[in-house]
């Protein structure tokens, strides 16, 4: 549309600005809250301009963890962030590897019950963690994987969504490419590694962003598996901090931690945004 309608443009921009405000204001508040001393923050009304303590508070959150009266053994955010990173990256990478391989098998190999297996994978879309949580917990517990990284990651690692996405992508790869590779003498895995994976890079990037954030935001599963503070994720820890009964909350440090928890997913999105959009929109053939 090259037609210019100033009023429509203006309304459009107003809606966008309002949406940005709604999304950004709570984050702004969190940053502000993290930049005051606890006394400064406790005044009413709450200050809306930044204070001077941002670095002190985040450093405290990072290395000491918020102190609470009545709750002992605060875990410093650096440990929690590390756990979250391990979990989110393992889930994202694991999902991509498994989905690439299963999509490869489903698209390029003729084996008995191929369609049956595809639909079985597809049906698991209807069974997210929340639905199968009790049997899954039982299995993980029986395997002795409670309070381990394996236990945190493994049950979340299969992905019907990613399998489906890669399947769709593989089906758009022209048959001639497969045949050319066969004549060139590339075996199936060689073709997979030399041709399919490089062609899928943008889809892989898109999947990585989506699955990293999915892994980062996991709450229910780590809540069950990680009873040891050593294995807690940051999302889980923030949730626990503000639910301690009758506690005195060190709000600026908690907010500092919340801001820290936001940073990695934001960084991933910012760094991979270009590829992410390409992967969902473009088809490079």
């Amino acid at each position: 549309m090259i037609e210019r309608r100033p009023i429509a443009d203006m309304i459009g921009h107003l809606i966008l600005l309002a949406a940005i405000f709604i999304v950004a204001f709570p984050i702004y508040l969190a940053v502000i809250a993290a930049s005051h001393t606890i006394e400064g923050l406790s005044q009413a009304p709450m200050p809306l301009l930044p204070g001077a303590e941002l670095l002190t508070n985040t450093a405290k959150a990072l290395f000491d963890g918020p102190q609470m009266v009545g709750v002992s053994g605060a875990t410093p955010a650096i440990v929690l962030l590390g756990n979250s990173m391990i979990m989110a990256i393992s889930i994202a990478v694991g999902k991509i590897v498994i989905s690439l391989l299963s999509a490869f098998a489903i698209v390029y190999f003729r084996f008995p019950l191929r369609n049956f297996f595809f639909w079985m994978i597809f049906i698991t879309l209807m069974l997210p963690v929340e639905v199968r949580i009790i049997p899954t917990y039982k299995i993980v517990a029986d395997l002795g994987l409670l309070d381990t990284y394996t236990g945190l990651v493994l049950p979340l690692i299969a992905s019907a969504t990613a399998t489906f996405l890669f399947r769709q992508f593989f089906m758009t790869v022209p048959d001639e490419l497969v045949e050319a590779a066969r004549i060139d003498g590339a075996g199936p895995m060689r073709f997979f590694w030399d041709v399919l994976v490089p062609l899928s890079r943008t889809s892989i990037a898109a999947m990585f962003v989506i699955q990293f954030i999915y892994g980062w935001n996991q709450y229910l599963w780590p809540l069950l598996i990680a009873s040891d503070y050593q294995y807690q994720t940051i999302v889980l820890a923030i949730g626990r901090l503000i639910r301690a009964p009758d506690a005195f909350y060190e709000w600026p440090v908690i907010m500092g931690m919340a801001v820290l928890a936001l940073l990695p997913p934001v960084a991933v999105v910012l760094l991979m945004q270009r590829w992410f959009v390409k992967g969902l929109v473009e088809t490079e053939k």
């Binding site: 004549i183 060139d184 003498g185 041709v195 490079e284």
Partner: protein
């Protein structure tokens, strides 16, 4: 380099037979073109030679071995695809050398072979580019480069020029011909374009519904089509077919026009036939020669040197190619004589040439 032999090659898809048995011995260094309309099985046949399709019956031999159960990579062939099938994420150099790298050839040897192919195909300036940064003709050349560096005993081309525009197609056609002369490798080329087929082939295989209707040199196929199908497919405009009856050495058309058959057809038993005659084998009757028939022209198509006259002879649509200097146009009624030495008689039922 190698000969290729097809013996009783058949192909079924489920219960449907798409190739009904093809036999041919292709000589070492020969350029064979398989031509036919879409769906005639020409690509399937080529893909069976390449090893991309399984053979239902019969056998295919390359060189001295039967390759029925040999993987494409071990058949010592190279194939050029219609849509080029270049790896989009690799540079031209990587595309051309991929097969060699898989075979574990040394870097120096790869470099040497790629350089040579790039010289032949004038691809030197583009070796570091990606396929999407190339024009259609350049991509086509990369696809050929990929085939050349393998130094195969057989080249297979699957409609390699049909994605190019008309001008480029003519140019690439010439380059393929030149390449074949230079390398002398046995080549099998599939196309639906009869001009490509005629100009490139040492021998043609004209396919129709899974059968090889005629195998022969372009001149042979053109001047002596084995069936009405071949006559109608090869040649532009195609051969004219007029129903006739043969009586005592004469071909009598439906309107009573009587044409004297040449020596070789005199002995034809009486009966109903189809008379086949090429558009250029009818000429303007000279004074005193006596017109054999008069053409009622509907439309005249001016081609420059020649004019195509569309009209009716004895109620059948025909096309006549005359020099433009003869000066006929729409609604002309030229008197014509047929060059009877060039006519063919075909069986009405089977469409086969009566020799």
């Amino acid at each position: 380099m190698a000969k290729v032999s097809l013996q009783g090659v058949k192909k079924n898809y489920g219960s449907i037979r798409v190739i009904h048995g093809v036999d041919i011995e292709i000589k070492d260094g020969e350029f064979i073109v398989i031509v036919g309309p879409s769906g005639c099985g020409k690509s399937t046949l080529l893909r069976m030679i390449a090893g991309l399709e399984a053979i239902t019956e019969g056998s295919i031999g390359i060189g001295d071995r039967v390759v029925n159960d040999i993987e494409p990579r071990d058949r010592d062939i190279a194939m050029v695809f219609q849509n080029y099938a270049l790896y989009p994420h690799m540079s031209v150099f990587e595309n051309i050398s991929y097969g060699l790298r898989i075979r574990g050839m040394s870097k120096a040897d790869i470099q040497k072979r790629v350089d040579r192919a790039a010289d032949i195909l004038q691809l030197q300036p583009y070796l570091q580019r990606r396929p999407r940064e190339l024009s259609g003709g350049q991509r086509q050349r990369v696809a050929m480069g990929r085939a050349i560096v393998r130094e195969p005993s057989v080249f297979l081309f699957d409609e390699p020029l049909s994605n190019l525009d008309a001008k480029l197609r003519v140019q690439m056609r010439l380059e393929i011909k030149r390449l074949h002369q230079q390398l002398g490798v046995t080549s099998i080329y599939v196309t639906h374009d009869q001009v490509e087929a005629m100009t490139l082939a040492d021998r043609l295989i004209v396919m129709n519904q899974g059968r090889a209707e005629q195998i022969g040199s372009p001149a042979e196929v053109y001047s002596n089509p084995a069936t009405t199908y071949v006559g109608g497919f090869i040649g532009s405009p195609p051969m004219n077919f007029v129903p006739c009856k043969v009586e005592a050495g004469q071909a009598v058309l439906d309107d009573g026009t009587s044409l004297a058959l040449p020596e070789r057809l005199r002995g034809t038993p009486a009966g109903a036939y189809i008379l086949g005659i090429r558009p250029e084998n009818m000429h303007v009757a000279q004074p005193g020669q006596g017109a054999q028939f008069t053409l009622a022209v509907d439309v005249a198509e001016e081609l420059g040197a020649d004019t195509l006259l569309h009209g009716k002879i004895a109620g059948t649509d025909v096309v006549v190619r005359l020099p433009s200097t003869a000066g006929f146009h729409d609604n002309s009624r030229p008197s014509l004589v047929a060059d009877m030495a060039q006519v063919h008689l075909y069986d009405r039922e089977s469409g086969r040439n009566i020799h």
